[in-house]
């Protein structure tokens, strides 16, 4: 039975609830298929943009180039996610391209939280204690991100190749954590 073509708005309350549910799934990674089955890229986009915005305004003493530029962070996150997805597909994974992008994007959430905490800590001061606090927070969130994405992605691989897929994910989140940890405001 042919249905009438309905023109809906691009983004609805239903989508917002779906995005929120996925955020919750990332923070408590259990074996749920919500992230995989109905993938969407809204959440990763929001996280990527907010992370890139928060990384602005960092610098050393130079005028032109200090912390990573907005476009740089954006490109790194998406290029890194694409490379990891291609790698996992080439290794014989059963997950689709956009599903993998969706999972990797959503698992940036703990690191975004870490960035927020780092900025707040840096408001208080930038001595050694603040560095240690930031280091601990970033390392914890980095571990959480890696574990969360591994929990979702490693299942789609043949069992003896999980290590080959986990390593690039580890590198990817390590680079993002490095960008967060070395952020110094002006």
């Amino acid at each position: 039975m042919k249905r009438q073509i309905k023109v809906t708005s691009l983004f609805q309350m239903r989508d917002l609830k779906a995005v929120g549910k996925k955020f919750v799934h990332v923070m408590y990674p259990k074996k749920s298929s919500a992230l995989l089955r109905d993938w969407d890229l809204w959440g990763p986009l929001v996280l990527c943009v907010s992370l890139a915005l928060m990384l602005q305004g960092g610098s050393a003493d130079s005028k032109e180039d200090g912390g990573p530029q907005f476009a740089e962070v954006f490109v790194i996150i998406w290029f890194g996610a694409v490379v990891i997805t291609l790698n996992s597909k080439l290794l014989g994974g059963t997950i689709s391209f956009f599903q993998s992008l969706c999972v990797l994007g959503y698992c940036v959430l703990p690191l975004t939280v870490a960035m927020l905490v780092c900025r707040l800590v840096l408001l208080a001061g930038s001595g050694t204690i603040s560095f240690i606090v930031r280091l601990i927070v970033v390392m914890a969130m980095f571990g959480w991100s890696t574990l969360a994405s591994t929990a979702f992605l490693a299942d789609s691989q043949p069992p003896n190749r999980k290590a080959l897929v986990v390593y690039p994910i580890f590198l990817f989140y390590f680079v993002i954590s490095w960008m967060i940890l070395t952020f110094t405001p002006q």
């Binding site: 042919k2 009438q4 990573p68 740089e72 790194i76 080959l164 390593y167």
Partner: protein, 314 residues
């Protein structure tokens, strides 16, 4: 359908008991509108042809054919683009490895082979080299940040990625070209794989020496670790080349480039460079305050005066 029939609603096919006849009407209107639009576009495209046709029904049919052709061409282009994506499958055999194999190859890359009388086997695999290049990028970023390198033109990430990938791809291609000239038996994938695994030594050296800043330690690592991985690559290439001159050219070039790259990576992103950059900025800048703790003051002063002389002559 009747000729020119887009404006005719075929009432006999409307089933009043369908329950969704309202939707069917809507859908049919939508289809009519779409066809009108298509014909409008096709009509605009063939207005020159329409002049001598002059018959409305014929123009409708031609319009439909043109629209059909446009659809076919579009579909063909889309499927071509899609098959390009499916070409990722040509890379699949190069990623067919097990973790045990990767570990074994990493360790083997540090052990020079003794037997060079018959060609050594090189695994044409790209997963290990690709991961090693990315690891090198990560280590380089860490080193640049801990040494507070200030890159004036460009960004830290761009520089690191460009350097590592540029070395891997560029030097592989160059050595492959030389190998072609020197009649060595090696394929491009094998060369990429060989050089990629050779970067394992670089990764270890830089990882250690970016964290422990002793120059003598770096030189020891440079000679031992860098030397071992270079020796392995050289031995494999020698086993695949015939003739003394060719062997000398090929292996000399590779050894020189590999060792010099490690030297460059260490010194380019080390605390010394900051002094040079600050000196080149101009006489108004405050003098370089921090002295790297492992460089004697004399050599630092020499570097600074040399840099100043260079800046003045430019």
């Amino acid at each position: 359908m009747q000729g020119g029939g887009s404006a005719v609603i075929d009432m006999e096919n409307m089933d009043d008991t369908s329950g969704s006849s309202f939707e069917d009407m809507g859908e049919m209107h939508q289809r009519m509108k779409e066809e009108e639009e298509e014909e409008g576009e096709a009509g605009a495209a063939e207005e020159e042809d329409g002049e001598f046709l002059g018959v409305k029904g014929l123009r409708g049919q031609l319009g439909r054919q043109v629209a059909d052709q446009v659809w076919q061409v579009g579909k063909r282009q889309a499927s071509k683009a899609f098959s390009l994506y499916a070409n990722i499958d040509i890379l699949r055999p190069y990623f067919d490895v097990e973790p045990v194999q990767v570990r074994a190859r990493l360790l083997e890359s540090m052990i020079p082979v003794k037997m060079i009388s018959f060609p050594q086997k090189i695994a044409g695999e790209l997963y290990g080299p690709l991961m090693l290049v990315f690891t090198l990028v990560a280590i380089l970023l860490h080193g640049m940040k801990t040494s507070d390198t200030i890159i004036r033109e460009g960004t830290l990430m761009g520089t690191a990625i460009g350097t590592c990938f540029g070395y891997w791809l560029g030097v592989s291609s160059f050595i492959y070209f030389l190998a072609y000239l020197c009649n060595a038996q090696i394929t491009m994938v094998q060369m990429l794989s060989l050089l990629g695994y050779g970067l394992f030594g670089h990764c270890i050296t830089l990882f250690v020496t970016y964290n422990i800043h002793f120059h003598s330690l770096f030189y020891i690592f440079w000679l031992v670790v860098g030397g071992l991985s270079t020796l392995r690559m050289v031995a494999v290439l020698v086993s695949r080349t015939v003739g003394h001159t060719q062997r000398l050219i090929l292996c000399g070039t590779l050894a020189a480039l590999h060792m010099l790259f490690l030297l460059y990576l260490h010194f380019a992103y080390h605390k010394v460079v900051e002094g040079i950059l600050d000196t080149l900025e101009g006489p108004n800048m405050p003098p370089f305050q921090r002295v790297a703790r492992d460089i004697p003051v004399v050599s630092n002063a020499i570097l600074n005066t040399t840099a100043k002389a260079v800046a003045l002559t430019l």
